[in-house]
Amino acid sequence: MTTGSKIILTAEPFEPGALLTRFCAGRAETGAVASFTGLARAEQGQAAALELEAYPGFTDTAISDFAEAARTRFHLHDYLVVHRTGRIAPGEAIVFVATAAGHRREAFEACDFLMDWLKSRAPFWKKEHGPDGARWIEPTDRDRTDAERWDQE
């Protein structure tokens, strides 16, 4: 497990509930915590497993730089991003994002903002293993337009 300040890349499965409990602990001035957990989909049997490749020292730095921009933009008190790498089975958590802010709107929006970027622009390389072999996948048009929503504001 490589750890940035609040960015964790891990090849091991993680438990989102435990991460959220720890993230919420000991906060007296935070009125709102929003979180998101992304799970690997089976795609009706088309995806036996996902394989996510990261570049340690590059991927975590890029996520950290972006998360710091989110902290400023949404006045976050804190954030946590945990991302799986390696081979991920359907039903396992791929990503966990938690954001803490004074009020709910900032927490919700920062979480959404971070996820849109993570899904479309974060430096990962994703391979889907299915019944017909493996293929590298790129962001969908939907992922791109979701991320672009934030560029216009």
Binding site: G38, L52, E53, Y55, G57, F58, T61, H83, I94, V95, L118, K119, S120, R121, A122, P123, F124, W125, K126, K127, W136, I137, E138, P139, D143
Partner: protein, 79 residues
């Protein structure tokens, strides 16, 4: 000497993920790789492939020294 890393489909295509090359510039390195494996040489110059030198993205030329790490990054998929 530079330590070269390949990611994603580039590593699959090359059949290796990490190799050392005796090159003092990015251009020289690209030449060496292309001589060794012309198809890989083409792929490294292909659309959307970015280059990071010591974990920082660079455009165009860069000098390489003994300890330099050069990574070829195909289009990123997001998580």
């Amino acid at each position: 000497m530079a330590r070269v890393l390949l990611f994603g489909r580039l590593a699959d295509q090359a059949g290796w993920r990490e190799r050392a090359f005796e090159a003092t510039s990015l251009t020289a390195l690209r030449g060496l790789i292309a001589t060794d494996d012309p198809e890989l040489g083409d792929a490294l110059g292909g659309p959307g492939v970015q280059v990071a030198v010591d974990k920082t993205l660079v455009r165009g030329e860069a000098a390489l020294t003994a300890a330099t790490e050069v990574a070829f990054l195909p289009p990123m998929s997001g998580g």
